[in-house]
Amino acid sequence: MTSIEHPSEERLLSYADASLSEDEQRTVEEHIAECAECTQLARQSLRFEKLWGLSAREHGDVVRRAALEAALAAEEARAAPGLRERLSTWRSRWAGLAETAASIALESAQKGTQVVAEGLESLTRPGSAWQLAPATGGAIRGTGEGGESALLTTSLSTTSSRARLAVQGGDAPEVTVRIDGVPESVRPLVVLLSTDSAHQVRLTQAERPEGTSYLIARFEDLPVGTYVVAVEPLESGNGQ
């Protein structure tokens, strides 16, 4: 290949998916160094390869993250100053990532509401010890009349904080986040985001019931749909 003999589109796609031999890579890269036209095509090929390589699961992670970022931005715009600062920190400092997060599906079933809940590691900030995961692995499912519930919990530790998520189906579905073992002054924000078309957001601050050592955030009267629940990163100045 000379400097005026361009690599084919096929070859640049192969360059992007790293399937060329060492010699071919070298030839392509040396050509790119001199050719603006092929530089553009190589940039497009590399970007395409990255997009193409993402699985549906990773696509879903991106969609949830975008939805959570948008929800935080929307809440930030209408929040009072103190709260606005915390939401801004959550959104920008952590790029919308949470201390812990889970996806929840409340589905209509013949005998009430079916619940599917699953921890979302992809929305959890790096370094968090709060990975919501059921002990048995996979998603938690529950179906039934009158409030059968699904429960997710972190692996228990006597020394670290932990969060639990209870999702109740039945006639009045609700989601409860319980957080144990955090210092008394800490009261993280908790967001419940509908990932259906409406993208409705509910924001609350976890409260400590009198005489207890844990925090509770509760979302009641939820319509059937899919949701993401996310807890504010604990290093965001959350009410301390």
Binding site: S8, T39, L46, R47, V62, A66, E69, S92, D196
Partner: protein, 278 residues
């Protein structure tokens, strides 16, 4: 590391054009590529005592540092974007360790909203690309992380209509994007058409000459496998065909320029190629 400055100079000269090409393909402008190449040489020379020819070539050593420099560059871009997001009253002095953040790469430097739009668009292009539905469905199941072997073993006797429904349902369960359903509409339409309706080029028509006549939907996936080829290789070939069709479509739309380079849509008509592929 080479013993003399002259030997070192020879090595750098040997690879400098390639290193610039490596960066030029990966960053938004040529001056940034030049800066990153220079930064890489500084790292390479500064860490020369760790180069062991027994572990790899000088280029391999240089690439390790080039990857490091590139990741640092993308992390910087992301920080810059976040500073802009925070605005002038934001916490400018807040210091954080890049190690606290998720992996940074070409896509991670983009914001989630634009990446989400790009992924939706790629999916829509794939589901509507001018290829028969069996190929598109094979692509779809690989997106669901099915391997070609798993597809041939578990899905071969299912009809395309059944597989399309399953694909849509499973994709929607993983991707909570209400606009995804509309992206599947072109695939649903293809299932009511015949291969004769869908294929125009003689080569594709020959490749599917063995498939029964009629709408594509009620025909089992295995009927589309080439009689004289390994089904797993066929799945891989279908996936690759869809990939190339989508790439061409996105290029024509200029959709791959959006967040990456800002480079215009220079048309490549009349390019003289190396002829590696048609």
């Amino acid at each position: 590391m080479p013993d003399t400055a002259a030997e070192l100079g020879d090595l750098v000269r040997e690879h400098e054009r390639r290193l610039y090409g490596f960066f030029r393909a990966r960053v938004r402008d040529d001056s940034a590529a030049d800066d990153l190449a220079q930064e890489t040489w500084v790292e390479v020379l500064g860490h020369g005592d760790t180069f062991d020819p027994g572990l790899g070539s000088f280029w391999t050593f240089t690439r390790i540092w080039a990857d490091f420099v590139l990741r640092r560059h993308w992390e910087g871009r992301r920080r810059e974007r976040e500073r802009v997001d925070r605005g002038p009253s934001g916490d400018e002095d807040h210091d954080f360790d890049a190690g606290d953040r998720p992996d940074v790469d070409l896509l991670a430097a983009e914001d989630a909203a634009s990446l989400s739009r790009a992924l939706r668009h790629v999916l829509a292009c794939a589901l509507s690309c001018p290829r028969p539905p069996n190929e598109i469905i094979a692509f779809g199941f690989t997106k669901l992380e099915w391997r070609p072997r798993e597809i041939t073993m578990n899905l071969s006797d299912s009809t395309l209509s059944h597989l399309a429904l399953r694909l849509e349902r499973d994709y929607a369960a993983l991707v909570p994007d209400p606009e995804i359903a509309a992206a599947f509409e072109p695939l649903r339409e293809k299932l009511e058409q015949t291969l004769a309706d869908l294929l125009s080029d003689p080569r594709s028509k020959r490749a599917y000459a063995h498939v029964p006549d009629g709408p594509t939907g009620p025909i089992a996936l295995e009927a589309y496998f080439a009689p004289d080829a390994n089904p797993e290789s066929t799945i891989t070939r279908w996936w690759d065909t869809v990939k190339r069709a989508v790439f061409r479509q996105l290029r024509e739309q200029g959709a791959l320029d959006e967040a990456q380079s800002g480079v215009g849509r220079a048309e490549s008509a009349g390019r003289k190629t190396d002829g590696a592929n048609p």
